[in-house]
Symmetry: D2
Subunit: 347 residues, 4 copies
């Protein structure tokens, strides 16, 4: 950390800061220039809020934190890109991974038919919500355990691994009985106790970006999971909240290359929640892949107009099937491959 | 709900929508103009996502939801402003309520001395965090149960009711043993299971606005608490996330009159978290009161530079004591009163 | 326009609105339901601010504008996609158009060498600023007329049409002497007098999206140009301002399909200004093409580290040349083609 | 400027940066620590974009600019708060200044009656638009020169100085014939040529904050005016664009104390454009004054429902008259005074 003093800072102000640094068991290195003094703070661990403390000290102009707050998620201590194997699907490798399925699990027929259609079109992992966070308490909130059982049935029928959301620590055991990947939703992206508990559950975790989450905060949230010994975290960009209301959220496609520069974790794009409207989903899916995403999460439903949630943004089976070859073409154009999971033979 | 059809909509498209409305057990009223057809949807309950479903139907130009999604929090079914009594403090009445205290409970001495100083200056309720949500897993996360015990001691010493944050459903019983008001933090503002569980706990709940929460979403979150039979919800504006980085968050002072127009619930302003910097806190506190807020939540600490969290935005005792008469003056100027709690005699 | 009255609206309130509508020479159609009255407003032209006027009338719950505010830019009155021919380059057709060049024209050597390198790599149009808007008055502001002359020289040398920014009405004649396309920058996107004057200048206009411009506002700005009889407007998405600071701006890649749905005008993507950092430019360029953009505007410079402006986001010639085949591959993957302009033989 | 190198930076990378610094005629001071090297850049003038250039150099982790980009607007070179005398009104002193009037000048009767009513209620300066920037080309755009003449008449009748917007350089002479203060609107806040030209016109300039303008950018825009030798700049906070749509814009009331900390220029608050709705105006006006603003700009109209622009946010005369004593009370509560201009005797 570097503390830049005002030109008008007094000797007393400088000494006060040096004392405080030493009281914390850290060392202070002074660089006294003609115009101003600059204080380097050396030692560790540096209290995470030390910068904001010093920022308002008398005589201080600016404080610069040099060390990154995130560690486990960064390249510094993990120089190889993370790949995550889920049954026979690998996430984060050369191949693009497509997760598809309904927003909510509504019935066995709906879910199994969606899984079959998604798999036939090339999807690798089945998504579906059994426990649903809803903005209003009066909306459909999922089938709960019955939904998890249906997902398991669909997995048996198709061989596709499943991903489903867990909303609260006390549901982790139950959801963990069934799911292959835990999903943490955008609204829970800073629910730190949930992140820690799911980090202990021994299965991969996909962490959606919160609606107003900075990249660094996102990695720090992932750090909560990884700090429990779980290296298998997938990041999912699903749109941020901005002034623009033409889309449900604004897909921050730049997150893909920015996160790639900061972290070894795989990142996938969810065009459905970003767009909020079916017609926009293909363009955003292709943009995500072109930007370098490791995969996609897309909502599809046998009859979107009758879906109990998010129907407006769900693709029909035909639309989904039409999109997959276009995804494959763009993937190829950017040096990635796309093919149905190896288990496809099983079906 | 009103469905406005495109000028070019076909009879078949109109009929499809009418059928869908009827299939949901609702009635469709057609108004066929020269230019276009408009369909009114009548009946209840209207599925909460019906508007987004119809919005993407072929032939539809626009869907307008007329009924509000929130009910219990709105004026329609509760035409009187809510007042909430917590021991002998009343929130939401003519008097301004001031909640003050440290960000984190760090020790008995720190907390009791803060409570005494805050009370002497005119504060009514003691705030202090025992369980702290932190962006990074490497930051100080509160004293837990010991923190709650310290808060209770401070209450005994000063007679001030206490408010403290609860972060997860499984902590509600423990926190409820001690606290007078449950605080739900901004990061948990859409943690719906937590909202429901805290709604069952039989004590007032203060719900902070999420960093990117629309007013309507905020009321719907409050609705989760109220739907459990708990009418005692306080809203707390604490800044939203915008492009401006000169402040930690952007205090949306307009939320005060806007919420007043939408809801009967009391609303207070937290200038400390909005500003992120001590020097800005007084101006924002006064602005909040001038805009009509029912109270303030302000961080104060015996030695902010040594605070374990949020020191940069905490006032010293002297700064807090200097601010209170200014708050009283502005309160008087807008027709509100401000005085220390009746229990002040106890101290 | 539809005016939805409150359930509690009085007859007098309804009559007052009807009178006001009639006073404006419009007709009011009442639909009196069991629950509430809805008033349709028919006639034209509808004053553009009529909705906000009625919104705050006593007894009114909601006002819904049905007709779109933009006309010339929308599909309704122009059902075919616009293509714009600039010398022998066509913008908005099947082929992707690439505009490339330095942020600022600095010297003849710099500009001509950039034009040659860009053209050799496949670019069609040369960009370069002669008049530069700068956030600070102390920054380099362009070579002015000399810069325009240099651009013209580069056009002669390479056959590439040129695009350059015009910042104020009194410069239009001078800039128009040289440029093939006028560029209106993001900061001037709502400088309506400039838009009108440039609309009269008889050359195509590329309109960058303002940093906080809604899609509808963007089209209305384009409408200012088109209302002067100039049909040749190109839209350019270059990033919006959001809370995220990891990138200079947030590329709103969704603007591509959203604008496509609203307007017949070509839309291109500027990844350089969105990213602000060279390393992110390729990913964003590819994302824009995958999303369906009609082209790209990319900054490239012989020695970006020595550029007088925007060096950080400029590609080297080698980086630009390496990106072009990747753009071509993604363009092909989404059914577009990409090839150097026909004039390439001239060089 | 300080350049923090990566821990892994090579000697060659460090040397390259030092060479580049020296080539710019600046000096490089190396501080080589155990962990990393830090390079201080000394000399002036520092190219304004040097930080972004170095930020992407190989081996660089972070670049920190120490000197502020704004000079004339900052406290460093102007340690006394600016006060601006306009006829016998002083802006920026102890007294609160109220500017009031219609959005647009519509007729002599409307404007003069508004001026009389505003003055009678305590306003000091008359506002009114003769040239109006409008989002759509189909909206009312002001009376032009006739509007300026009407404003002058109203000034004669009431003795109130006037403020009106100028939109383009070629209008400055004409507007300057009439107005006492030039207003630069939010959409033109980064129209740098306009800022420079108006800076030469020898009259005070009020600069509205752009919808997505950072504080620093706002001061740099003011710097354009001041760099022409005009010290009389007033800043006006009028709401920024955020995700929240319950208000037309989000009043950033924190701008008042933040700007106060950065600049000696007076700052006033425009609650009308921030709110967009009449009912919210009083609360925001009072909040602005409580936060320390030097004044207010408020829209009022003899018959807001018939206004040609911004009627929804204009107060009636009665509402305006009712608000003024409340403003006076809050002003007094924060140590400011409020009284009608001394010229009031003239009327």
């Amino acid at each position: 950390m570097i503390i830049v003093m005002e030109r008008t800072a007094t000797r007393q102000q400088i000494d006060a800061i040096v004392s405080r640094i030493q009281a914390l068991g850290l060392a202070a290195h002074l660089s006294e220039g003609e115009e101003r003094t600059i204080i380097g703070v050396v030692g560790s661990p540096l209290p995470p809020t030390l910068d904001s403390e010093f920022e308002i000290h008398a005589g201080v102009q600016q404080v610069v934190r040099i060390t990154k707050k995130y560690k486990l998620t960064g390249w510094d201590f993990h120089p190889h890109k993370t790949t995550i194997a889920v049954r026979d699907v690998v996430i984060g490798g050369d191949q693009i991974t497509v997760m598809a399925g309904p927003c909510s699990v509504e019935s066995e027929e709906q879910t199994v038919s969606t899984a079959r259609a998604a798999k036939a079109a090339g999807a690798h992992i089945l998504r579906g919500g059994a426990y649903k966070p809803r903005t209003s308490p009066y909306e459909f909130r999922g089938l709960g355990r019955r939904g998890l059982e249906i997902l398991a049935t669909a997995r048996e029928e198709t061989g596709m691994p499943i991903i489903t959301e867990v909303m609260t620590p006390s549901d982790i055991d139950e959801v963990g009985e069934f799911t292959d990947i835990f999903q943490i939703g955008a609204r829970n992206s800073q629910n730190y106790l949930l992140l820690e508990e799911v980090g202990k559950a021994g299965k991969p975790v996909m962490l959606k970006r919160g609606l107003s989450m900075l990249m660094e905060e996102w990695l720090l949230a992932a750090e909560y999971v990884m700090a429990q010994g779980n290296p298998d975290v997938i990041l999912c960009e699903r749109g941020i909240r901005t002034f623009e209301s033409a889309t449900r959220n604004t897909l921050d496609v730049s997150a893909v290359p920015v996160i790639r520069g900061m972290s070894h974790l795989p990142i996938i794009v969810d065009p459905s929640h970003a767009a909020g409207k079916r017609a926009l989903v293909p363009a955003l899916a292709l943009a995500g892949i072109a930007a370098g995403a490791d995969g996609l999460m897309i909502e599809t439903h046998p009859s979107p107009d009758h879906a109990l949630s998010d129907g407006a943004q769900s693709l029909t089976f035909a639309q989904f099937a039409e999109l997959m070859p276009r995804v494959a073409a763009v993937a190829a154009a950017v040096g990635r491959s796309f093919s149905a999971a190896e288990t496809s033979a099983v079906v």
